[in-house]
Amino acid sequence: MEPNFQDVWVYLSASPLTALTATLVAYLIGDWIYQRSGKQPILNPVLIAVCLITLILWITGIDYWTYFEGAQFVHFLLGPATVALAIPVSALIRSLKGSYRAIAIALFCGSVTAAGSAIVIAELLNASMQTVLSLAPKSVTTPIAMGIAERLGGLPSLTAVCVIMTGIIGAVIGPYILNAAKITHWDARGFAMGVAAHGIGTARAIQINKQAGAFASLAIGLNGLATAAMIPIAFALWQWVSGG
């Protein structure tokens, strides 16, 4: 009997099993390449996996939502993983003993730079008002960023795209910048990655050094709260100044 490839294909293209397996295989390939390259930041495993899966979807003509049906089992784990950040962060808070002031100042400078420079550069490059508003919360973890954009009058779905792109950009270029600027302390390196590139930057920091990972986890939570509080105040002030 001839094997029925048509039926097999119909099953494979619609089954969550295929999308889930493809996600894990693509990530393992990405991680393998990254490890083999001597951990070159440009060969970020997430970046490689995303490119591989995009290529597969493009070749097979499977649409993103069919893929996401299966991949959502991986995506779902982001929730419990976020809660799990409580373990390294509480261990870190215990060991901090009085350097809260340094953390608070670095957080303030980082949050203001993240939102402020995104707005200024986008304005200089003639982006529309709605795009500027969508870009402002780009360094904050996705759900908080979408909430902020919505309240400001930006486009939450555009914000979600910008947030993920920021994470990947930060994970790729962050280590080069930290090396070039001779920022060598693991706590400063981790905190910078968390403030600038939220979860994706943190995931990267955790893989490199446990201490850096704990500081990065602390940074995501703090930056989310700080930005949620500061951006609306800053915009109200700006409108008041420019509106006379």
Binding site: T23, L77, I87, C109, G110, I177
Partner: protein, 116 residues
């Protein structure tokens, strides 16, 4: 392991309930994260099992962003004709933020250590 996964899910659920009940802009898992930090800080030490599960889950945190990352490619059309401005702003601003945050914290830590 099952016990500690349940703890994480319970805190996430509690966070989601609080976020919805009070209509907060903060996402449920982040509220769950803060509640668990508060509870853990009140204990004398972190339960070993919870520590192991969290370390295991977090060592594969990168993997969890892959589905959303693929979504970005699917939604590239949203960037429209402003993609140069958006990309320029994202790269420039992310680079500046890494630099400023890392530099400030390292400087302050050094000052603290040298002074002490």
């Amino acid at each position: 392991m099952l016990g500690s996964i349940t703890v994480l899910l319970l805190f996430q659920l509690l966070g989601e309930i609080i976020a919805r009940a009070f209509d907060l802009a903060i996402p449920g898992p982040v509220i769950g994260l803060f509640l668990l930090i508060v509870i853990l800080l009140r204990r004398s030490e972190i339960p070993k099992q919870l520590d192991e599960t969290a370390t295991g889950l977090l060592s594969h945190l990168s993997l969890l962003f892959v589905p959303a990352g693929v979504g970005v490619i699917a939604h590239l059309a949203l960037l429209g004709n402003e993609w140069q401005a958006i990309l320029g702003s994202l790269i420039g601003s992310t680079a500046l933020t890494v630099l400023v945050t890392g530099w400030v914290l390292q400087k302050l830590h050094k000052g603290h250590r040298d002074g002490a």
